[in-house]
Subunit: 187 residues, 2 copies
Amino acid sequence: MDRRAARHARTRREIVEAAWELSGRDGLTGWTLRDVASALGMQAPSLYGYFSSKHDLYDAMFSEGCRDLLAVLPEIDSSREAQDQLRAGMRAFVDYCSERPALFQLLFQHSVPGFTPSPESYAVAVDLLDRMRTALAAAGVTSARAVDLWTAVITGLISQQISNDLGGSRWTDLTDEAVALLLTASV
Amino acid sequence: MDRRAARHARTRREIVEAAWELSGRDGLTGWTLRDVASALGMQAPSLYGYFSSKHDLYDAMFSEGCRDLLAVLPEIDSSREAQDQLRAGMRAFVDYCSERPALFQLLFQHSVPGFTPSPESYAVAVDLLDRMRTALAAAGVTSARAVDLWTAVITGLISQQISNDLGGSRWTDLTDEAVALLLTASV
DNA sequence: GTCTATATTTGGATAGAC
DNA sequence: GTCTATCCAAATATAGAC
């Protein structure tokens, strides 16, 4: 990758980062391309050198967001107790998503009208789900129905936290209890 | 109420109904006032004789939606087993919300940017929550934490159903299992 | 690669006639 | 009470100069 390509890639990342920052403050759909550009000291049309449309920018946010989330989740360590690791992973997931409502909404609630992730971005989301499934399987949760119930409960906690107690911990504090309950049912 | 007022009220209801229908087809924010008007054979400015703004129309949709949902939930019948009634109520709730994603999003996910229900509409929502709480209390679920966990699990099922299997029953089919699990934990 | 200027569309809301 | 005509603002996207 030559200097020009490296610079281009860096600017792209800065644009995505600025879009996430605006999403955190004004909501996932609460900003315009002008806003993003001006946050970087640019003009809106300049963004089209990096993204072909606003949806294309959302697509980059989607894949980047998946990667961020993957990075936050603890690695599976085969030397430690699987249930403890699962609990820790779920807490990390719930806490991170609750602090970044826009991320949760883009990745898990499809809340940008008309936006669907590209195959490439979707592949990163699949990686994320695989990580979840692996952690669950290590703790003995393998049936499809059980996995679905887990995802519903965990995303339910996050969703309630975001919708009804933004910035607080009324629902995130219930994570350990929910995990314990689900573990008694699954094994 | 004289004839004029009755006619006015009826037209208001028709507008709200048309808006819900459009929301079901094109999403909660996927229609314009022109769309609503044309669905009724009217012109957009005529709507302002009934609603002072689009948010005002959303507000009417909010309170009307709460009432619809209340009407769908079974009454508490003190002669029957509380847990059975709770299970039936939760199934009714999950099924109805899953069939009407826009209703769920407006009432429980605050997903119209900038919209907050008026005090009058919010009061109807409180009635709805009270009904839930009463049904839970009758089945022995009284602590605030337990109620929060119930709402998270139930709305989590609906949310996953809507986001990942619209029109199907992959998560709604888990309702009875979730209720049973929550009951073992609460009592 | 970034700018200015602008095309184009859209959609909420108002004015005023009938 | 409903209409036509219109305003106004916003926002994506493009054209073309530098």
